[in-house]
């Protein structure tokens, strides 16, 4: 399987199964454009005659020789050894946990998937006793996994910050005993950040996600307080202070774009102008009936905007205005292994979410859906059949993914979104797929630029 596309003056050809990324010149691209698979050392006569109208005989033959060598070397139209591996994937130890430390929020963002903070189940803060049991549960179910992740989430986790600190202290107090290494992360809307909290987060959290949608008018249209006021002016100075004192630890300023700001490049650049260089702005995933939803009819506009953003990023490379855009970051050589790429989403299998009352769900997106409750920490129940069900979701058990060129970059999408909008975790959410493929194309185009500028 290959995928070929032209973008920003580059002819790019990807070989899905080997992971090879090639840049072709025009004649090579025209040849492969006419080729099903170069199984013969000689170019098919009809293709040769067609290309002879445009290129010389020697040039065609020389170029085809290079293409055929790629094929022989397993870097073009290469075979697929992965399906058998996918079918033998088993359920894995749980290594990652989303702790919904607060089912409450001090914002009422219009697009919130969590029913504006309480997940439709009433406002509630997690007591330390539940958080402690969650840490014990994670250690117990993690088997031999050494690195364990805990993400403090909500709602707004800063509304229950004392329990965050108690939980970190508890996990740190027992991690050596069980030969574990905890990595904590937190996702916040920033309203309750203080100097003390900033200092704590920068010391204890391996990554922090700071929610902000971009320009003031864009952010304040949807990210509003219960009184209907915008949040921008309160949070921006706090984020700037946090980032300034964060050192080289990971962080992301993360925004959502909607139909209201399909020109989201302006929001990304605005975030950069505020001093942030680790930026993620993602499409809203929502019911199509809502005004702000991104619909099929918006896709081409979003594609154009991603291209515009990619070109802007190229223009800023090696300047003091360079920044990382999370979804254009890609490592073509040292990314995850193929086994990892078979089953991207770990939900319900190696990743779970815990609610304030100890309920266990496959992930934060499933929280509140009674049919998907996996158990409860207090009564000691846990549904291993459901865990097994999620462990079987991979790019070969999802028919659309199996035939997709991008399957080893995306790894099957978000299982919760698949269920919410396509009624099955095994059916990828179409708009998300379309946008993900475009982002991968842009990310690889940026790599092509970097390669060309070095040579």
């Amino acid at each position: 399987m290959i995928h070929k596309y032209k973008l920003n003056g580059y002819n790019i050809v990807l070989d899905t199964n080997s992971g090879a990324v090639h840049m072709f010149d025009d004649i090579a691209y025209d040849i492969v454009d006419n080729l099903k698979e170069p199984t013969s050392a000689e170019l098919d006569k009809s293709i040769f005659e067609k290309l002879s109208l445009k290129y010389g005989e020697t040039e065609i033959k020389d170029t085809y020789r290079e293409i055929y060598k790629l094929y022989v070397d397993g870097q073009l139209f290469s075979s697929d050894p992965y399906e058998r591996m996918a079918s033998s994937l088993k359920d894995a130890p749980i290594k990652s946990m989303c702790l919904n430390i607060a089912h409450d929020c001090n914002l009422r963002c219009e697009y919130c998937f969590a029913a504006k903070g309480d997940f439709g189940k009433g406002r509630e803060l997690m007591p330390f006793d539940i958080a402690k049991q969650a840490i014990d549960f994670l250690i117990e179910k993690s088997g031999k996994r050494h690195n364990l992740e805990v993400d403090f989430f909500g709602g707004e986790p800063l509304m229950n910050f004392d329990v965050v600190k108690q939980t970190v202290d508890y996990a740190r107090s027992i991690e050596k005993k069980y030969n574990k290494n905890f990595r904590f992360t937190i996702t916040t809307n920033g309203l309750l950040l203080t100097d003390d909290k900033i200092e704590y987060i920068n010391r204890e959290m391996s990554s922090v996600v700071l929610s902000l949608d971009g320009r003031r008018n864009i952010n304040d249209r949807l990210r509003i307080t219960p009184n209907g006021k915008g949040s921008y002016d309160t949070i921006v100075p706090k984020y700037q202070k946090l980032v300034k004192t964060r050192g080289d630890k990971d962080y992301y300023v993360r925004g959502t774009f909607t139909k209201y700001n399909l020109d989201f490049t302006n929001d990304v650049l605005h975030l950069n102008s505020l001093g942030f260089d680790q930026i993620s702005v993602e499409p809203v995933v929502s019911d199509m009936r809502l005004d702000y939803s991104i619909k099929e009819s918006d896709i081409n506009a979003v594609y154009s905007e991603y291209e515009k953003l990619a070109k802007e990023i190229i223009d800023r490379i090696d300047t003091n205005k360079s920044f990382n855009f999370f979804h254009f970051m890609i490592d073509l050589d040292q990314g995850p292994c193929a086994i990892k790429r078979l089953r991207g989403c770990g939900c319900g299998n190696e990743y779970i979410a815990i609610t304030p009352n100890g309920d266990i769900y496959p992930c934060h997106q499933f929280v509140g859906m009674d049919d998907w409750k996996m158990g409860n920490l207090v009564d000691g129940t846990f549904d291993y059949k459901m865990k097994d069900y999620f462990s079987k979701a991979n790019v070969y058990s999802k028919p659309e993914c199996k035939k997709c060129w991008a399957k080893f970059y995306c790894s099957g999408g978000c299982n919760a979104n698949n269920f919410q909008y396509e009624n099955s975790i095994f059916t990828p959410h179409k708009i998300s797929c379309d946008l993900e493929k475009k982002r991968v194309e842009c990310a690889i185009m940026i790599k092509a630029y970097e390669a060309m500028s070095k040579s």
Partner: protein, 53 residues
């Protein structure tokens, strides 16, 4: 090669043989969890190598 430039090592198949240790960051691809995804993740072993050097 004159007409083709390959940008990477194309080592995905090799990674299937030596990979699968499971120590890397868990992946989540829902939009609200920018903290984790797949294509931009690092291999934990590669991280270890970098740290130890």
């Amino acid at each position: 090669m004159k007409h083709v430039k390959t940008l990477n090592k194309a080592n995905l198949k090799e990674s299937a043989i030596v990979g699968g240790c499971g120590e890397c960051q868990a992946s989540c691809q829902s939009a609200c969890k920018t903290s984790c995804t797949v294509a931009n993740q690092k291999c934990e072993r590669q991280n270890s190598v970098k740290v130890s050097h």
